[in-house]
């Protein structure tokens, strides 16, 4: 089976959080992008876990190739990381800045997958930690007519199925659900999958020599309609948080606790 994992480069969300927590997150003159140039860029965390899911399938005996593909201006770094983790093929669909909207990204990814020999399984992170939209997997599944299973915590090949079938444990608000879906399918992966592996030094070295296949949008021969943006980022801003916390007094933990419980009872928040 061929597995294609879609990966995106994002600004390190923890670094963005730290700037936000310190009240120092700023938007640049274009009104759209964060000014902090020191924030590292890395592979979206959920995408790394999607890669991990692919590698675990292979560890469990699934035969075939694993590819990683990214749409963006320069995905070489994250694709090399994917290669170091053990994927067989890396591909970069070049799109300049500003990054295209999700519809265009999904059209490009679907067209790449189709033109590169199709896939039995397309894996994506549940959402990207920058815009949190999480719509690309759904748009790919519709473009390719595949089913979509979201928020997987475990993916395996279903035993004793007539045709290639995936058994997926997915995280739902009501607890874990186990589903089966025939290949080809799009599956998104959630953090419950667990820690992704680290590349070994030897693999890192080998990955350095691996070059991503560069694909231009023109080569994918998409219709103008497929490349027409529909949701265009105009502006980004940092919302204000009200913040008028009353710090309750107390010298000891017991005094603090008594002050809080008394206050909550007085305000009828608790009985």
């Amino acid at each position: 089976m061929r597995i294609v994992v879609c990966v995106k480069e994002v600004l390190d969300p923890d670094a963005v959080n730290n700037y936000a927590l310190a009240g120092r997150l700023e938007i640049g003159e274009d009104g759209k992008s964060l000014t902090q140039t020191t924030i590292p860029r890395l592979m979206n965390g959920f995408d790394e876990q999607a890669l991990e899911a692919a590698l675990r399938l292979r560890d469990a005996g699934a035969e075939g190739r694993i590819g990683a593909v990214s749409v963006g201006p320069d995905a070489a770094t994250i694709l090399k990381h994917a290669a170091a983790l053990g994927v067989d093929e890396i591909a970069s669909v070049l799109m300049g800045e500003p990054s295209p909207d999700y519809h265009v990204v999904a059209s490009l990814l679907a067209a790449y997958i189709r033109s590169s020999g199709d896939a039995d399984l397309i894996l994506c992170g549940r959402q990207a930690s920058d815009d949190d939209q999480g719509v690309v997997p759904a748009l790919i599944c519709e473009a390719l007519g595949m089913p979509l299973v979201t928020n997987a915590r475990a993916i395996e090949l279903a035993p004793a199925a007539d045709e290639p079938t995936l058994r997926i444990t997915r995280v739902t608000p009501d607890g874990d659900e186990v589903v089966e879906v025939p290949c080809p399918a799009v599956v998104t992966v959630s953090n419950e999958l667990g820690e992704p592996r680290y590349p070994t030094a030897a693999r890192k070295l080998a990955a350095r020599r691996m070059k991503p296949e560069i694909i231009t949008p023109e080569a994918l021969a998409l219709s103008p309609e497929a490349l027409q943006p529909r949701v265009v980022a105009q502006r980004q801003f940092v919302p204000t948080v009200s913040g008028d916390c009353e710090f309750l007094p107390g010298e000891t933990p017991a005094e603090l606790a008594d002050a809080l419980i008394a206050r909550l009872r007085q305000e009828s928040v608790i009985s």
Partner: protein, 327 residues
């Protein structure tokens, strides 16, 4: 873009009442419909909840549309997308609004892909922009920032409204008497491709419905201390929640994760112990009426959201809170 119809879409799967977030979605729908001179529809998939038409009237809905079909009785992404796409074909709504939840997170973007609409999730607002077109504002980076997106280039749009993004506001000028229409969509050719082998089972009450939640984070220091959270939750008659790191570490079950990628809650009281207040966590609890934070760092971000703060070691304060709450 010509906005003739705005449709708010929902389903209740025979649960009786309207699903959480419907009134908020209707409030947004009403606002956009008024601003653009469009009619506001409420589209219900499956059976009509009891209070549906009355609520729709209060929120100024012109028409309540219903698609009833055996295929829609239980949630099925394939059937739901097909039904909604059929509706779009017949009614050509310019804007479809969903209340964001686990199932709409699948259905809304798939619908957009199916009918060629643009899509925005995590929306907190939709309004007319300066150029006269619609703009959607959505949170990004878990809420550290917000993005304003221009909705142009597609004939129609699908927007999912974040839970707790706005407060429900009934229509000004009193209730309307919405017309009720039955919409026919042929679903005989739709077969759900996903087969459920083991159903999810909610054990006991859900965080989403809880009135009081006590949550713990990495500041608890170790899994053995999470029992303090459970004991305080029990003493207060509430439920225990958690931040993501301690779920990832396996201290507690993932069903207890509060936040952007966990449970979106709206309790009367949210008490957070040893939680820093990252935007992705707050996305799941900032709608609480009263937030109490316990943190040893007086500059922790959580205090910006909290009504009451206790600065100190939560391992010392929690046992005292359990004692005081039991008294």
């Amino acid at each position: 873009m010509e906005t003739k119809t705005v449709a708010v879409c929902m389903w209740s799967l025979g649960q009786g009442g309207l699903p959480v977030g419907t009134e908020e979605a209707l409030t947004l729908g009403r606002k956009v419909a008024s601003a653009t001179g469009a009619r506001l529809h409420l589209l219900v998939l499956g059976s009509l909840p009891d209070d549906c038409v009355e609520t729709a009237g209060r929120f100024g809905v012109d028409d309540v549309d219903q698609i009833e079909d055996a295929a829609l009785e239980a949630f099925s992404p394939d059937a739901y997308v097909e039904a909604l796409a059929g509706y779009c074909q017949q009614e050509s709504p310019a804007l479809m609004i969903f209340s964001q939840a686990a199932d709409t997170r699948v259905v809304a973007p798939r619908l957009a892909g199916r009918v060629g609409a643009g899509v925005v999730m995590n929306a907190v607002d939709v309004a007319l922009g300066e150029g006269g077109g619609l703009q959607a504002t959505a949170s990004a980076y878990g809420g550290d920032t917000q993005m304003v997106y221009e909705l142009s280039g597609a004939a129609s749009y699908v927007v999912a409204l974040s839970a707790n993004a706005l407060l429900p506001e009934p229509a000004e000028g009193g209730a309307t008497q919405p017309g009720c229409r039955s919409i026919q969509v042929d679903l005989t050719g739709t077969n759900e491709r996903i087969r459920v082998i083991e159903q999810a089972r909610t054990e006991g009450p859900r965080l989403e419905d809880a009135d009081i939640i006590v949550s713990g984070g990495r500041g608890l220091g170790g899994p053995e201390n999470y029992k303090l959270i459970e004991q305080l939750a029990e003493a207060l008659g509430g439920l225990a929640g958690a931040s993501r790191p301690i779920v990832d570490e396996g201290w507690v079950d993932s069903s207890q994760q509060v936040g952007l990628t966990g449970k979106i809650t709206r309790p009367a009281l949210y008490l957070a112990a040893g939680i820093s207040g990252a935007s992705q966590h707050m996305a799941g609890c900032s709608a609480a009426k009263t937030i109490v934070a316990i943190n040893k760092d007086p500059d922790a971000a959580i205090f910006r959201y909290a009504s009451y703060g206790l600065v100190g070691d939560c391992l010392e304060i929690l046992p005292e809170l359990i004692r005081a709450a039991r008294q």
